[in-house]
């Protein structure tokens, strides 16, 4: 019965994604055309004949509504078209290469951030107001406030230039192999680690003060059972809500980390395509991000429901 409910719920949510994605695609398609400039504007103004040829090639010469319908049709067939900036590969090919890279990096960073973050949060909460708590939380504040473009180069300076242990930049298949993963994963994990640690600490403290924990203590349950079985389960709820969007963010790539460590992921496309007015690439990044975000949110909701018995599928 419950399982049936879950299935129905998931199906309903998936159906619900379609209009959401449709609205996102439609709005983005028209909004990006409002930006001044075009994919083909450059410092030496190209002759009108050349611009006309370039536009014709990617159908930018057609009326906007027609372009929109054409694009919608292409997307439904799974064809994201061609970039106006990098013309030798299709956008599908670019994404097929870049997304797994960002996902690998993001997943590793998220696992690291989660495991360290939760541990630190729980320890801090249990030893609250101790020296350990204060230093761990100071570390977390530092992690939130120091931006990645500072952490990344600092790590490079330390581990690559001074100690010489790790390569400066690059990706798996080139140069130093898997060692290239370490610094970008660390850099990428720092911010999320800090959030998760603080979030965990707060919610563990809150749960520890709640009635059912008091009851558990009164029943004479061991500290270990109280923490692992009762507290953590409840305390994880805010972390799970945070994880949905955090996952979508981290696996679609970080512009900063990918640029500093020269990683061939999705992150660069987000900024470069916007700067280049690379309309179809912008659309592709928006679609990829939106799809991952709605799926991640769905998964987060499911996990949330599994943890919290009060949630019912409706």
């Amino acid at each position: 019965m419950i399982r049936c409910n879950v299935l129905a719920y998931v199906l309903r949510r998936i159906v619900g994604m379609v209009p959401t994605l449709f609205i996102i695609v439609t709005l983005s398609f028209f909004i990006i055309r409002l930006a001044p400039g075009s994919p083909f504007s450059s410092e030496r103004n190209l002759p009108p004949s050349v611009i006309a040829n370039l536009e014709k090639k990617v159908h930018l010469d057609e009326p906007l509504p027609l372009q929109y319908l054409r694009y919608l049709g292409d997307v439904l067939r799974g064809d994201l078209g061609y970039s106006t900036k990098h013309v030798d590969f299709t956008i599908n090919e670019f994404i097929a290469r870049a997304l797994p890279v960002s996902m690998t990096l993001g997943a590793l960073a998220l696992v690291l951030a989660l495991s360290v973050g939760i541990t630190v949060g729980v320890v801090s909460a249990l030893k609250r107001n101790s020296l350990m708590d204060h230093s761990l939380m100071a570390l977390a504040i530092l992690g939130i406030s120091v931006p990645m473009f500072v952490i990344g180069p600092l790590l490079q300076l330390l581990f690559s230039v001074h100690l010489g242990w790790l390569p400066t930049a690059g990706w798996l298949s080139s140069r130093a192999g898997g060692l290239t993963l370490i610094l970008p994963v660390l850099t990428l994990a720092v911010t999320d680690f800090a959030y998760i640690a603080r979030l965990t600490r707060t919610s563990v403290l809150e749960v520890l003060r709640s009635d059912y924990i008091r009851t558990a203590r009164a029943k004479g349950l061991s500290q270990r059972a109280i923490i692992w079985k009762h507290t953590l389960r409840g305390a994880m709820l805010p972390v799970v809500s945070f994880l949905g969007p955090a996952f979508a963010n981290i696996v679609t790539g970080s512009v900063v980390v990918e640029s500093i460590f020269d990683i061939p992921g999705m992150g660069r496309f987000f900024v470069n395509s916007a700067l280049n007015r690379d309309y179809f690439m912008i659309m592709a990044t928006v679609i990829v991000y939106a799809v991952i975000l709605v799926i991640a949110n769905l998964i987060a909701d499911l996990v949330y429901a599994a943890l919290d018995p009060r949630v019912v599928y409706e």
């Binding site: 900036k85 700067l275 007015r277």
Partner: protein, 518 residues
């Protein structure tokens, strides 16, 4: 349990080190992912570096001076009036063994001019070859383009005038010769490593977008005996700081820029090469707006700043103060330089009706968002304020927005830069013709136009340079149509005690052919 852990650790180590090892001879940080490797579909400098490895035009570049030297063409003759060039092709073949004929050259150039190719640089050959512009514009067919194959090894082209800089232009990828037979066979995918056919010293071996491009020596290149590297890897690393760190650590062999913050440090190193470049950084005056309409105001603004201080203290990368539009160039005597003088600038401003800057409207200074442009704009803003008593407001816009604003002429003063396409003053001047492609400030002087157009019909030599010099004197010394600030410099880092065959030059062209380990 311990065994399990040990096995796990061993696996991890294997995984981490497993896929290392590169085995390429030379690694260059090429700053960005190329738009394409097809010579007819590109317009950038990183693309040019790759193109020099994979393709060769009728003419190639001398590694020391970047002057044109014979490439696929062995020799050439020029008609009396300087408009008809006849090239004798050498016995060169494509990397798949197919001979390169005069017919290949004809078909290649018709390809870039074909409106359907939609090449961003098609305007370049169209500006040289008779009948090419009409074909590009769709007004006439390819048969009207004045290029032809006289026989298998003889190629002839007729120019729109005796353009003496055409040989330098022929080294450009817009005049690239491409393997028509492979393009017909594979279509758009001819440029992928598995299908690739080229005629340069190297062939494409591996291309992982956003990650790396590897080229390997082409044994069928006509001058393969003088190609020393077996392979080159191009990295698209965008972050200048990371590139610099990689270079310092010896992970790469050549980086083509240095972060501004590290210039002082880099300058102390023997592998740092700073050289003047064929490019000008300047401010555009909106010649149609008050008060910039008044030449005295333009003169006052241009003469009131201290360019030496700007380049030494602010930009710090070896730039050269500019008092003309055209950078120093061999053979060209150079136009009259204006002088900086706060006193005279104040006098001119007073004559224009703004003594001590009183009553001068607040102008805006537009630049595209960048730390470097901002520093320069702030310095100049300060100088104008202190020296002339006038206020300007700084506005920065993101690149494409800035281009659009400039194009529409919606600015008072705008930052601009221009890098020459070939070594001739014309490339810095003809864009300021009335209605010219880069004339966003609407500079208009029919006398200037007459001289530029006259020079286009003259034979090379001192007389032609004299006419161009007169034009430039009108444009800058007399009219101050734009305000030159400095000539660009490039910062390369490559250890020339280790690598032979690499030389700094004004075009910043570095043919791969002669580069070798000492």
């Amino acid at each position: 349990m311990r065994k399990f852990l040990q096995a796990g650790a061993a696996l991890l180590v294997l995984a981490l080190y497993g896929c290392g090892g590169t085995g390429v001879d030379f690694i260059i940080v090429n700053a960005t992912e190329p738009q394409s490797l097809d010579p007819h579909l590109v317009e950038g400098v990183p693309e040019h570096r790759i193109n020099m490895a994979l393709f060769e035009g009728l003419m190639a570049n001398d590694p020391r001076t970047a002057e044109p030297i014979p490439g696929i063409a062995e020799s050439y003759t020029v008609s009396e009036d300087g408009t008809v060039y006849t090239f004798k092709l050498r016995d060169a073949v494509w990397s798949d063994g197919v001979p390169i004929t005069a017919e290949t050259v004809v078909k290649s150039w018709l390809r870039i001019l074909n409106p359907e190719t939609a090449s961003p640089y098609a305007w370049f050959p169209a500006a040289f070859i008779k009948g090419a512009q009409d074909y590009l514009d769709g007004k006439a067919g390819p048969e009207n383009v004045a290029i032809r194959a006289i026989d298998a090894k003889t190629f002839e082209m007729t120019l729109v005038g005796p353009l003496p800089y055409v040989l330098g232009a022929l080294t450009h990828y817009a005049f690239g010769i491409v393997p028509i037979h492979a393009i017909e066979k594979y279509g758009k995918d001819w440029i992928k490593p598995e299908n690739f056919v080229g005629n340069g010293p190297f062939v494409l071996k591996e291309w992982i977008p956003q990650e790396s491009i590897v080229v390997a020596k082409n044994p069928r290149y006509w001058d393969a005996a003088n190609v020393y590297l077996n392979s080159i890897k191009f990295l698209p690393t965008e972050d200048e700081n990371s590139a610099y760190t990689m270079f310092i650590k010896g992970e790469v062999d050549w980086i083509t820029s240095v972060p501004v913050d590290l210039i002082v440090e880099a300058r102390k190193r023997p592998d740092y090469h700073n050289s003047a470049m064929l490019g000008t950084y300047y401010y555009i005056f909106n010649n149609e707006r008050k008060p910039l309409k008044d030449v005295r105001v333009r003169q006052a603004l241009a003469r009131a700043i201290n360019r030496a201080e700007l380049t030494e203290k602010v930009t710090q990368s070896g730039q050269i103060p500019a008092f003309t539009m055209v950078p120093p160039m061999s053979g060209y005597p150079g136009a009259k330089k204006f002088t900086e003088s706060v006193e005279e600038a104040r006098k001119l401003l007073a004559e224009a009706g703004y003594p001590d800057g009183k009553g001068f409207p607040k102008l805006t200074l537009l630049f595209n968002t960048s730390e470097n442009h901002k520093k320069i704009a702030e310095y100049i803003q300060q100088q104008w304020k202190v020296n002339l008593g006038i206020e300007v407001e700084l506005t920065n816009q993101e690149w494409k927005t800035y281009l659009e604003t400039r194009d529409r002429g919606e600015f008072d003063i705008a930052r601009a830069g221009w890098v020459g396409d070939y070594q001739d003053p014309n490339t810095f001047l003809d864009m300021f013709l009335i209605g010219g492609g880069g004339n966003d400030g609407k500079y208009a002087n029919t006398e200037f136009d007459r001289r530029i157009n006259d020079a286009a019909k003259m034979r090379p030599g001192p007389e032609r340079f004299k006419v161009l010099e007169e034009a430039e004197n009108l444009f800058i010394y007399q009219d101050m149509g734009v305000m030159p600030i400095y000539f660009y410099a490039v910062n390369n880092m490559i250890d020339t005690s280790k690598w032979d065959g690499w030389y700094p030059n004004v075009m910043d062209f570095h043919p791969w052919k002669g580069i070798r380990r000492k």
